[in-house]
Symmetry: C2
Subunit: 261 residues, 2 copies
DNA sequence: AACTATTGGTTCGATTATAGAACCGGAAGG
DNA sequence: CCTTCCGGTTCTATAATCGAACCAATAGTT
């Protein structure tokens, strides 16, 4: 059993996004179809604690500095700045493209960290973006390395929501098998228009997939260049990274949703 | 009036720090002197929503990926990655030392972002650290540029907690006046042992201090080098940064605590 | 200037979610 | 085998929450 009050409170927090970072009291209450009284109480609570910040000029609320504080603890837990980030930089230099760290969370993939290349394309907007595992190289390479009994449920979700990536279950499973066997995936434009990606999986100390690293760039540039060579470099670093991560005991951040079924 | 339930919930979150990132249920309940039943309910709520993650091996809880997602929204709001970070990198290159971004929040200073130099000293641990404004160059330079009626309250807090930095109010105020006038502050070892810092203030679109930028490094290296020259460079960039920030409307994240008194 | 429609914020009694003692089943230790 | 810890659950008196009705202030309209 979970706390209804806190649940409502957290729902409020989730309304603050890159695309809508500032909310007025009434505006937010209407959107959530909640009484403005309770939204007000929750907003003040968060503000008192530093999780929200009330802009004194506009009277509107936005996310507070507390999230920067706590995110730093998470980064430290995940050894992101210490271990993962340096390797991402290396790959970025060698490939000249942006490198994306995707992590498996619940039954979705989340874009967690991006090292930008000097070149045009910027992905910063995409950080935090969640999407199902059947879409895009970074996600598919995770799905491909998941235990087979987990794959079924996720693919079923894709069929239920009529994902165009899955024409037939058997063909899709075959593709996943190939991805798992060769150790990397390539797609173009599946998650972001005109952006291609080459991805390789990361494993934890129990050899469970915990995420992936991707070389991402404009589709035309990745097509012209040697995809297989880039994939080989990427895989080398992913293996190296997995080896280090397995030593610091870095558990896969997965909820065993499908085990319960 | 704020929500007691959510307040308790947020108190739980704050127990997760860099120094103690993993908590067991009972352990946490004892520490907070709360019934383990309610702690359990709150932990499950947070876990369901992705704010906490239960390590399936140890059964212990740690902060979840949600904080990385939301912190990215905050960074975008504050234009950190877009505007502030690039300038920090520039200063880091020119000075060869680490650059620290401190923000004013409530009536404290928070180390928000650190660009590490290639050299030995690492400050990553300090990110998110809060401390009162009378301690350390990065914080003092903020205090010095605060309205005088705000300064009084903060200095009083310092005296109440017997801060060794304040021997006498009048001398301390004089020092602050000098810092404000010359535009930068220098201290050594006040916040972190054997670490010195040169700091200059940042202002928002209404010319209120919103934080500071600091060049930080081992005390001996900052002493031997030319402090004034480093300060001049730093001030130049801080002015540049303030000018840009004032255009994007970046409000000072301050609660007007002392106005209410 | 008066009227209306917003806004953020507050009050207070009926309702409902919460708090916490007592409980379970498992694991670790003696 | 017993004890003690652990994470997790159940149940009801009780305390916190909910929300209609309420301010006061601001902005736009007539």
């Amino acid at each position: 059993m979970s706390s209804k009050t806190v649940m409502k409170a957290l729902n409020i927090l989730e309304m603050f996004s890159i695309h809508k970072p500032c909310w007025g009291l009434r505006e937010l209450a209407n959107e959530l179809e909640m009484s403005h009284t309770i939204v007000h109480r929750l907003l003040t609570t968060f503000t008192e604690k530093g999780y929200l910040f009330k802009n004194p000029d506009t009277q509107k609320y936005e996310l507070g500095i507390k999230f920067l504080e706590l995110s730093n603890v998470v980064e430290e837990n995940l050894k992101i700045s210490e271990i993962i980030h340096p390797i991402m930089k290396k790959v970025a230099l060698e490939s000249g493209e942006s490198i994306v760290l995707t992590l498996l969370d619940q039954d979705e993939g989340v874009f967690m960290k991006i090292v930008e290349s000097d070149r045009q394309v910027r992905f910063a907007e995409s950080i935090g973006k969640r999407s199902p595992l059947y879409k895009g190289a970074s996600h598919k390479v995770i799905l491909a390395n998941l235990p087979e009994d987990h794959q079924g449920g996720i693919i079923q979700q894709g069929i239920d929501s009529k994902a165009e990536e899955i024409e037939s279950v058997s063909v899709f499973l075959q593709r996943l098998a190939i991805i798992k066997q060769q150790g990397w995936a390539y797609t173009s434009g599946e998650t972001i228009h005109e952006v291609g990606a080459i991805s390789a999986p990361l494993f934890d100390y129990q050899n469970q997939v915990l995420g992936s690293l991707s070389v991402a760039g404009p589709a035309y540039r990745l097509e012209e260049s040697n995809i297989e060579m880039t994939a080989t470099i990427l895989m080398k670093y992913c293996l190296e990274l997995s080896a280090v991560l397995s030593k610091v005991v870095f558990p896969t951040r997965r909820n065993y949703l499908f085990e319960k079924l």
